[in-house]
Structure formats: structure tokens, C-alpha cells
Symmetry: C2
């Protein structure tokens, strides 16, 4: 309501001096500073960030664009981002695309208009328009969670392929030979990489991943309608012959659905069917049995990505991209065990 001029008038100084007090910049004598601070207090003056931003050409706003704001994986990332941002005086705008490229483009447009200083993006596409747009407007970007084609873009993610490989090795070491793999959309690198990891692990043991045991989720991977895992598991039970002895779920939501479908079918986990999954999040801990997982350091991913973005904002906009790949953590719990020896397996 009151402006810097009001404060200046009341303290009998110039607006510039008030600005110096507020920003702790330049020299201000102690008595003057006192008078100004008193005036600020009395008027309840709050600086107008808009004017400041217009002048300084920096908004101290970061945007975080994810594909599903209701997924704890992404909100945990958000916490990591938030903590780093706050420490540097930045605010975060949190946006949700639902895996829609149109939504993503729409958000970018708004964010560029709003002059955000940088963008953290879980991209719906592997390359192209979004990055061109951002570069055209000189908005630094860090890609989260997924691989992209652009070598100039910074990125922070977890090693999906290696995580899937390790989980699958674990199953194989327990004696599993037929493993179903339920994953997300084909357009998303994590979906594809996790299948690739499973396949490589099987091949390294002289096994194969037959097409009938692989399912790519539909549009709803990571979206509100989290029934894909359930549907895919039912689909496998309905059509695969013989049944697999274990199921690999490519993320937490899929795992939820799988466990639910197995319960419904009267199959015990891990007695009748082992289950392993990516992600390890609070909600998972309510599951019975407690899942064997490849855990991703979500908080750290957000944390590191925000640091990278702030560095980029402060530093060279044209430097080569920095690709950070975090290790997963293999956590073996109660959802995986040796397969029951069936007629089919003996054959």
C-alpha cells in the first residue's frame, strides 16, 4: 500500500536511501538507518517485488513442471527444490502437465511472460519445441527424471536401466525365469529404460523377455486415474501362459495396482507371485507385503537440480549441459522370494 516514497518522506530522506536500507546496499549512517527503519515499521511498508523485478530484470522465481502433482515422487522432488530455492531467496511455481505436451507448452508460455528466472522440467517429450522456446527466450532449464536428446540441457535423474537390471537380477537369483514387466508410456524414457534394464538382465542370464509379458501403460501413467497397474496385471493374468512367477512394476502407482490385482485374484505375494518395483515412498510403506524396490533419491534429485539451475542462472548460459545420474538403492524386503515350483516351471 505505502510506497518507498512514503517511507522516504516520513523519514525525511530520499527514496534512494530507503532503498539502500532495504537492500543493505551502499553506505547508510546508523541514525539515518534507524529513522528509515522506524518509518518502515510505522507504515507497515512492504517493498513491491514487481517494481523491483521490472527494474532488476530478475524475478527470483523458478518454475517446477511435473507430469503428476499428486505423485509423492514428484512432490518429494518439489521439497528438495523448494528448500534450495528458499535458501537463495527464490520462490517456486509448481505446475502440472498430466503428460500433456499442450499443457506443457501453455505453461511455458505463461512462465516466460512472467519472466521466471529458470525452469525445472519433467518433459513430456524427448526433445524439440519446449527446449527451443526456452532457449529462444534465454530461460535456463534443468530436466528432471528423464533423458532428453539435447546435449546442451542440464539434467538430473536416476539410473532407470541399472535399477531395473538390479531388481531383475535379484529375481533371477531367487530362481525366477518368467518375469512380467509392467511399465508406463512408450514416449517416456523411464518407461523404456526400465524395460531395457529388465531385458538386459534376463539376456545376461540366457533368458528372454517375451512380448506377451510386457505391458506399456496407457495415457494415465502418472495421472489421476491410477488404475493402469491394476489393469495391466489383470491383463497378464488373463492372457499369459504359463503365468510369470514374478512381476516387475515400473513405478509406485503401478505397484499399487499390481498388488491389488493379485490380492483380488487370490494370489499371495510373494508365495504365489513375487513383486518388485521402482520407487519407495511413504505411501508404499502401508503395503503388505513390504515391497522390494529400487528406491530413487527423490529429495536429492530435486535438491541437486535446483542447485544446478541456480548455478546456471548465475553463470554461463551457453555452457555444455551437465548430466547428473543418481544411483538407485536396492532394498530387498518381503515381496520377493523363490518361486514355487510348478508343473510349468518343471517342464
Amino acid at each position: 500500500m505505502s510506497t518507498i516514497s512514503d517511507v522516504a518522506e516520513r523519514a525525511a530522506v530520499s527514496a534512494m536511501t530507503v532503498s539502500r536500507v532495504i537492500n543493505n546496499s551502499g553506505y547508510v549512517s546508523a541514525p539515518t538507518r534507524d529513522r528509515v527503519e522506524r518509518a518502515i515499521e510505522e507504515l507497515g511498508y512492504v517493498p513491491n517485488a514487481l517494481a523491483r523485478q521490472l527494474r532488476s530484470k530478475r524475478t527470483k522465481i523458478l518454475a517446477l513442471i511435473v507430469s503428476d502433482i499428486t505423485n509423492p515422487f514428484f512432490t518429494t522432488i518439489a521439497r528438495g527444490v523448494e528448500d534450495v530455492a528458499a535458501r537463495h531467496g527464490f520462490s517456486v511455481m509448481f505446475c502440472n502437465t498430466d503428460e500433456s505436451a499442450a499443457e506443457e507448452a501453455q505453461y511455458l508460455q505463461v512462465l516466460i511472460e512472467r519472466q521466471v528466472d529458470g525452469v525445472l522440467l519433467v518433459p513430456t517429450r524427448r526433445g524439440g519445441a519446449s527446449f527451443r522456446t526456452l532457449r529462444a527466450h534465454r530461460v535456463p532449464v534443468v530436466v528432471l527424471d528423464r533423458r532428453v536428446n539435447d546435449p546442451f540441457v542440464d539434467s538430473v535423474r536416476c539410473d532407470s536401466e541399472a535399477g531395473a537390471y538390479a531388481l531383475t537380477r535379484h529375481l533371477i537369483s531367487l530362481g525366477h525365469r518368467r518375469i512380467a514387466v509392467l511399465t508406463g508410456r512408450r514416449t517416456i524414457s523411464t518407461s523404456v529404460d526400465r524395460v531395457a534394464g529388465c531385458r538386459r538382465a534376463l539376456q545376461d542370464s540366457g533368458l528372454v523377455l517375451p512380448g506377451e509379458l510386457v505391458r506399456f501403460g496407457g495415457y494415465n501413467f502418472g495421472s489421476l486415474n491410477q488404475t493402469d497397474g491394476y489393469e495391466m496385471a489383470r491383463s497378464v493374468l488373463a492372457s499369459a501362459s504359463p503365468w510369470p512367477t514374478a512381476i516387475f512394476a515400473a513405478n509406485n502407482f503401478i505397484a499399487f495396482g499390481v498388488v491389488r490385482a493379485l490380492h483380488e485374484a487370490g494370489l499371495a505375494v510373494p508365495g504365489d507371485m513375487s513383486v518388485v518395483a521402482f520407487d519407495d515412498l511413504p505411501a508404499d510403506w502401508a503395503m503388505d507385503p513390504f515391497l522390494t524396490v529400487a528406491a530413487q533419491p527423490a529429495y536429492e534429485i530435486g535438491h541437486r537440480a535446483a542447485e544446478l539451475l541456480l548455478d546456471r542462472i548465475a553463470g554461463d548460459p551457453d555452457a555444455i549441459g551437465n548430466a547428473v545420474v543418481f544411483p538407485f538403492e536396492l532394498i530387498i524386503r518381503n515381496s520377493s522370494s523363490a518361486p514355487r515350483v510348478t508343473e510349468a516351471a518343471r517342464a
Copy 2:
């Protein structure tokens, strides 16, 4: 990068005319409009929202402040808010307090500096400082999820007391007489109201809620460390005598912990112990057994609150507060059944 003047120059018109084209305000001849649009296209011009906001004194930004951004209840609310906001050209800043009044105050300060047009708040306190601050700066606010003392504040929430009452009635009708109630912090209205609802239901049936069967969660209700439900359930099993035959969990996270603690203790749900809970969210659906709940319309709460806030922004800032109380939905599933008749119960 390029400004309205650049566009004006290229189109050989004044900046004002460009402004008219952008905003569809005032009269512009078709040929002029064409030239301007071409220039905009050629330059890749994007209007600077900051300048616009400074001039118009409206940012078209809403803030949504919740106590735990990782809780799907709140992110589902966020979706409701987001959808309404986007439809009206507003952006949303999503903030997380972790139930800390200091964080809340800190955010409000920043948001006021950033001139947000309105605030949606899940308050950490029942009244006081936050509302005074917002009113002093004429920032409209709508309170979410919780009751507050201030009659001038708009609010949107679900009927916690009635929901708890209904769930407890359900348990009583099944034959339960001893019911443990595990809830959140005492300072939060939903925690208290849910206990009150349970107590009233018991009293209406001539029963009591003994102190030894009530647990108030610690600081971490709705925070990252979601072990409170687990700890509280273990505490009840360790000290209550005789055991309750049912447990009421005041939110989804508490329910997770309860089910886990019961599994660990080798107790079957609902065979040995019935469980009912507030909230019904995607992650819950992975639970076994599928929970009996009082479901809150989280999306609708966010949706309605955002509408209310936009109305308030457009309308009378001093009108009396509007308190919207949504009904819960009682969903009876598999986690509740008649209690096993024990020695204690027969006594």
C-alpha cells in the same frame, strides 16, 4: 527480449496500438491489426507480465499454502484450485509449511511482496497473526480444510465431526464397544473435530471414549515422517487393556501406519481388529484390506475454494465470510466387520 516498442517500430505504429491488439481493447483497423500481428510473429514477441502487472496492480497469481505438499489430499485440492485458476488466467504458487507457523508467516511475507491477488490457506493456527497480516495488506484469503475463529474469513472444508460420527456409528452398529481413536496434533481443528465426532457417537450409544484409547499425533501429522500412525497403534497395543476391537484413524497417513502396525503384530484386519479412516485417495486403494472410510471431496474443495477466492477478488473485500462445509461420503468396504467375541468383551 523484444518489447512492445520494437513491435510498434516494426509495424510502423505506436506502442499503444500494439497494446490494443494484444489486449483486444479499443478500436484497431483490420490492416493495422494484421501488420502488428505479423510484427509480433516475426519478432517472437512475448509481453512482459511484470510491467503489465505493475501498471494494472493485479498479478493474476493465487497462492495455495498447505501443510504437507506430499499428501495426496492436498495435491488433489491443488488440482481443483489449478483448474479453476487456469480457466480464469490465473497462475498458482504452491507453498508448503510443514505445520510451522514460522514458515507460514515467512511465505505470507514473500507472497505479499510479490503482490499475489489472493491466498488459499490451510492455516497452522486457528486465528491471529496471519489473517491480520493479510487483511492489513488487503489480500483476500480463503481458508481450506480447517475451522478458524475469524467470522470474516471465507472457508471451505469437509465436515470432520459428522464424518467421524458416521464412521463410529458404523463400528458401533457392527457391535464394537471399545474403539481407539488415533488423530493428529491438538492444534488442528480436524484432529480435534474427528475425536469429538467419535466421542459423540459413543455417547449417543451410552458408551464412553476412555482417555487411554485416544492418541494425539506429534509434530509430524501430515509431514514427511509418516510414522505417527504406526507409533500410535503400537502404543495402544502395548498399553490398552483390554485391547480395543477397532481403530479409528483420523487421516490416510495414520491409517497406513495403523494397518502396518497391525500386520506386524500378526493381527488380521478386520478379523482381529477393524480399521476405519478418514480420506480416500489413490494410494489407499493398494491397501489390503480395502479400507472403510469417510471420503472427502478433495478436488471439489479446491475447486470451490478457488471460485470463492476469485469471487472475493472481483467483489466486495469486506463482505461477511462464506463458510462452505462439504459432506463426506461414507464408503463401507472390507476393513470393518463385527468384532470377535472375546473373554473381555463377554465380561
